[in-house]
Amino acid sequence: MAMEKTLYRELPTTGPLWAAAVLLGAFLLGGLAAFAYTHHHGHAVTGMTNQVVWGLPHVFAIFLIVSASGALNAASIASVFGHAPYKPIARLSAVLAMSLLVGGLAVLVLDLGRPDRLIVAMTRYNFSSIFAWNVLLYTGFLAVVAAYLFVQMSRVPYGWVRTVGTAAFLWRLALTTGTGSIFGWLVARPGYDAAIMAPLFIAMSFSFGLAVFILVLAALFRLSGRKIGRMMYRRLGGLLAIFAAAVLYFTAVQHLTALYAAEHAGIERFILRDGGIYTWLFWLVQVGIGGLAPIALIYLPRFGNSAAEPILASVLVIVGGLAQVYVIVVGGQAYPMELFPGYEASSPFFDGTVSAYAPSLTELGLGLGGVALALLAVGVAAKVLRVLPTNLMDANVPGND
């Protein structure tokens, strides 16, 4: 059978692999140093304030958590939707999903005001809080995907893989719905109060997660001297373009419906026209670089090397994705809440004014530390477990049926 052709082997120890590990280790240490510094002095040393209470760390954390669920795409397509060409990359897909989630959660936890009370967060739940539900969704996701990886790697009947894979697929939809609802349920802020947040976040997860997956797959193969065929790149690139288009579609719906509601006209004008940095990030980076450009890159007539295109498209999707999360998280807070409709409000506590936010180096360090943790975890897993096939050349990848 086609399946038997795929040989999974641990990564060989190569010089470039070590170099990458050392680089990631440095970023991880940087992240830990940023955490220690912030924890010692309090959040006064960050750019966050009493107006913008969630900043760059949350942008990174949410991006990683959303991508985690999307990184499972390849595995789901293989075992839930039965597409054989995705089977050889299904294991990596599961490993990456777990690693990204761990990286995102680490950033989230280390940015708490009292990270030493993590045990409180794990033992006391307020079930009317979507945040508390998310804690359960996250831990559950790790468990379900771990089980999924286990059945993929052990010699159990394929029916098992399909069953656990379906559970993981449903769980990831719930997880991203939960993450989107963190914002969707904030009725107080006009930028968030929308049911569209949940499906928007699901589309974002499909797109960002696949982009990260493509880059990690390409990097690991490169670093270990293994080869990927054109068809594989083409397949993943085509999928990425569809997902990027879906994100654009939901973004359009998000803003069009908000424009339609009179009470959201203010925030819409802010994001789409008058918001300065947020407007630039929205149109140029999120829509242009992260949406239209990668779609064009994949669909327009090619200029040669087909591996470079999906890789470049993935980079663009990630850059646009970070901008999108930034606009949602920070832009939504920068715009003032209206306590007194019909009045112009002002106060020493910045009522009625757009709040400034300048991310600090410590926040960037913490965020990149989380990314490094996630990538390092994938690398270590691929080094000690048989998750990567030795070869993804077109002849070795099973066809559809």
Partner: protein, 163 residues
């Protein structure tokens, strides 16, 4: 420095098993003013944390303010004075709460928020400049075992006595 003491302590315990028996571990607990606790010192030593936690929830949730173990009141009687006759804050190792905790490697976060001196005294800012440590508390150090031994050996302190 602390590490040296810890290692010396470990060595001592290892070398002389009889050490803890006659020369029982005795913390240099600073003297208090005012009426002693009706529960007795031994009981206080063993249960002060649970008492405060219990009374904390009474105050927090039920607005019960005439509680027995109010952390705000401890220092009305347990204020240790420095050379200048001023109460010391918890940043000073002579502070009442640190007299045992340091030795037992217990670290409490209470004074991130609660005052560690009597009301009315202007605390110097150096406590804040200490910032917060990131090392987790070591709940059971070598001395901890001795402290617990000491606590168990104290008369009248048993779990039943608490009920």
């Amino acid at each position: 420095m602390r590490l040296v003491i810890l290692i010396t302590g470990l060595l001592l315990t290892a070398l002389s098993p009889a050490w803890g028996q006659d020369a029982a571990w005795a913390p240099a607990v600073p003297k208090a003013s005012g009426e002693p606790h009706p529960e007795g010192n031994a009981y206080m030593r063993r249960w002060h944390m649970s008492m405060m936690k219990h009374d904390r929830d009474l105050t927090m949730y039920d607005g019960e303010r005439g509680v027995n173990a109010s952390i705000g009141e401890c220092f009305e009687c347990h204020a240790v004075k420095d050379e200048a006759g001023q109460p010391v804050t918890v940043a000073d190792e002579r502070h009442f709460c640190r007299s045992c905790h340091d030795y037992a490697a217990v670290k409490v976060d209470c004074f991130d928020c609660h005052r560690s001196t009597p009301e009315g005294f202007e605390e110097p800012p150096h406590q804040a400049s200490l910032g917060r440590g990131i090392l987790p508390t070591l709940p059971y150090s070598a001395q901890m075992a001795q402290v617990l031994e000491y606590l168990r050996a104290s008369p009248t302190v048993t779990a039943e006595a608490r009920e």
